[in-house]
Symmetry: C2
């Protein structure tokens, strides 16, 4: 499982998320058009076809109807979710931005921050239906001050996930629609008889959901498109191979496309980690998935030194980066691209996935080069503020006229001139 | 030109940007695939076909080659652009975000801010080729600290816009590629023999450019998709009809799809503005365009009172909102959705288009409901930071294990357990 920087494996890892979108484009476009045209009727048809669920029985749960699902969560698990919610709220409150005004050469300039009015969170059904997804997507919207937060989640094979609905109540969701796939995205993007149109759609989903989000992008806003998950661990001689192996497996168990890599320059450590992986794998329920993920897209990368490890990490721009080293804070500023950085030996990824507070919705597949974790900033928007005086115009008006004229936009120039010289100016 | 809140015109205004994207999807997808597969060869072919320009003669200008275009700008116009650049830099420096660390229940949490590595700015060719576009798109990227900023702009009908190239030098662009359309987007998204792949693409463009950006979204990041431009002016009895008319025309001259609306509850003012529009229109070069825009998508909306005016403005979520009222700051917090807000009688939109400092790349067509002006925040990304101690795990580890188990993710739970109890824990 040990490999080297010149390995062919690295190319496989980088390209593992590539999907031939073109193959799905027509199908998704058809579903979007159908929902846009036929509304609820189309939703009922697709939900029966794909989820084996009859929407006409129960289309959605309103806030007060969700409480029963929250109440039935076992006490210790409820405590965990309530604690996690508090931590997530607390961390995200640090991301709140304020309206500002500044004076600039006699003009008053500024930026007003306003929450988005309404948001829909997509939560997958079936095996990938996770309550932590609900907390991580809903809470930043609530902290931002979004007025209406709804959720769409399919009753896959006719079954609802009661824990997901309970946590939706805890998180403050206003309504949960039992729809999924591209049709759910279409419903909240266009609106139907029963579904109110929203301003932004967030949350993970399969290729149909992702492509539908891309196609409605512009009509509504969307978050980033999530690909398969990954962890990269930089381990020095201080690392505990048992911990490193456990953290790799926590990523590898997700799905066969997940990638779990440890980079080290300590050959002995590499061998120890390999042994631990074998040992711990045997005990896992999801051993088959984890083993396939490790064989194809994971392993222990042996490099020459720390600098090479960091260079490789930046080139991969991993979703999760673990610095299993003695002095992680000293490395922080060498890390250019990573979704979240887990520092030191007592910060396994799972702490961030569930509990500590920062968001677990992170840029995957190298997109940490340009995307950020989901945050409060994704649920507000800004308006520029400009206030000028007659004196400002007197001083700078002629320069602005010059610029407008250089672009051939006469009426732009006139709007300045009329204030300087009246209509005699033009 | 006066109309009322129940007018059919309002629906036309809202829907005026709607384009049947599906009609263009195959063409754009074909161009993208062709450039991905055939690189420069495809770029040369499309550029010859669409722009009547031979890329093999001159493919791009490097920074030092651009200086000649800057040097030839007339002195007074140069002064204007240099001043504008200073103002834009100054305003955008207020948007810079800082890395932070906070302590939370014994864990250290934080958020690291890092500039995006490389950005490409699209600047249209032909009639919509504006030097101000260059400043407004390039400067926030430079302020953010982006390492490499390139530009793509077509030599439409074989002709380059020398002023645009000169201002590209002033703004700090590293290289200008003489390519346009969907093929330019493909080139910087995928990379070719001559074009280096970038991490983010910004800038306005026609339907082909917009759709290409949408389709490469995810592989690279993009800015918002721009539609036709609009201004909404709320005018009270203190407004000067000459100024209001001039500002409406500065929007209406852009193109026939532009929308310029004044809302007022003062009937006399409405009549005065109407007269002024007629008078000022006659003098304009672009009178035909402006008149068509006003007839179809503009005019003076007569409402009952200020509250109704603000409600209407929020429902339109205009790109540009002008508060031509006596006390504009008192209205600021009633405005929920607007790209930029121009306050008072001496702040025509043109000041913001060119000079004051805030960005002129603004959300159009109602998308101010969820988009912000282009800003420094568009050219950085964040990484979460999490650092926990053994004590933190001892205290909260069991709750995290509960949550992982509730999702059936055994290895996630193990990664906590191994640190609490060693491998005996699982």
């Amino acid at each position: 499982m040990i490999f080297f920087p010149d390995s062919e494996k690295i190319k496989d890892i980088i390209n593992r998320g590539e999907v031939l979108e073109a193959d799905y484009l027509d199908t998704v476009q058809d579903i979007l058009n159908d929902v846009k045209l036929n509304g609820d009727k189309a939703l009922i048809k697709y939900t029966s076809q794909f989820d084996k669920y009859n929407l006409e029985e129960k289309f959605y749960f309103d806030r007060e109807e969700l409480k029963v699902f929250f109440d039935e969560i076992p006490e210790d698990l409820k405590t965990a979710f309530v604690n996690a919610k508090g931590n997530i709220e607390l961390f995200h409150s640090n991301q709140k931005e304020k309206t500002f005004l500044v004076e600039s050469k006699g003009a008053i300039l500024g930026q007003k921050v306003t929450p988005i009015d309404s948001v829909s969170v997509y939560v997958p059904g079936g095996k990938a239906s996770y309550p932590s997804t609900v907390l991580m997507n809903v809470i930043p919207a609530k902290v931002a001050g979004v007025n209406r937060v709804v959720m769409t989640t399919p009753a896959s094979n006719g079954e609802i996930n009661r824990l997901v609905l309970g946590v939706a109540y805890l998180a403050g969701v206003d309504r949960v629609y039992l729809i999924g796939g591209a049709q759910a995205i279409a419903a909240v993007a266009f609106g139907t008889e029963s579904v109110e149109k929203v301003d932004k759609i967030v949350g993970p989903g399969n290729i149909y959901v992702a492509l539908a989000k891309k196609l409605v992008f512009g009509l509504v806003d969307i978050d980033m498109i999530a690909g398969p998950s990954e962890i990269l661990i930089i381990a020095d001689e201080s690392a505990n191979p048992k911990y490193v192996a456990a953290d790799m497996l926590s990523q590898a168990e997700h799905d066969e496309l997940a990638s779990a890599i440890t980079i080290t320059w300590d050959k002995e450590l590499a061998i120890e980690i390999e042994k631990e992986l074998d040992f711990q794998l045997k005990k896992l329920n999801r051993a088959d998935i984890a083993r396939k993920s490790l064989d194809k897209f994971g392993g222990i990368l042996l490099v020459d030194n720390l600098d090479e490890a960091i260079e490789f990490a930046n080139s991969i721009a991993p979703e999760h980066l673990e610095l299993a080293v003695k002095n992680p804070f000293e490395l922080l500023y060498k890390i250019k691209h990573a979704g979240a950085i887990f520092m030191g030996h007592f910060t396994p990824e799972a702490i961030g996935d569930y509990f500590a507070g920062p968001n677990h919705t992170l840029p995957t597949g190298g997109t940490a080069r340009f995307y950020s974790p989901l945050g409060v900033y994704d649920f507000v928007k800004k308006s520029s503020i400009i206030n000028c005086s007659k004196e400002y115009l007197d001083k700078y008006g002629k320069l602005i006229v010059k610029m407008a004229e250089s672009e051939g936009l006469e009426a732009h120039a006139n709007s300045i001139k009329v204030r300087l010289e009246g209509r005699d100016g033009f």
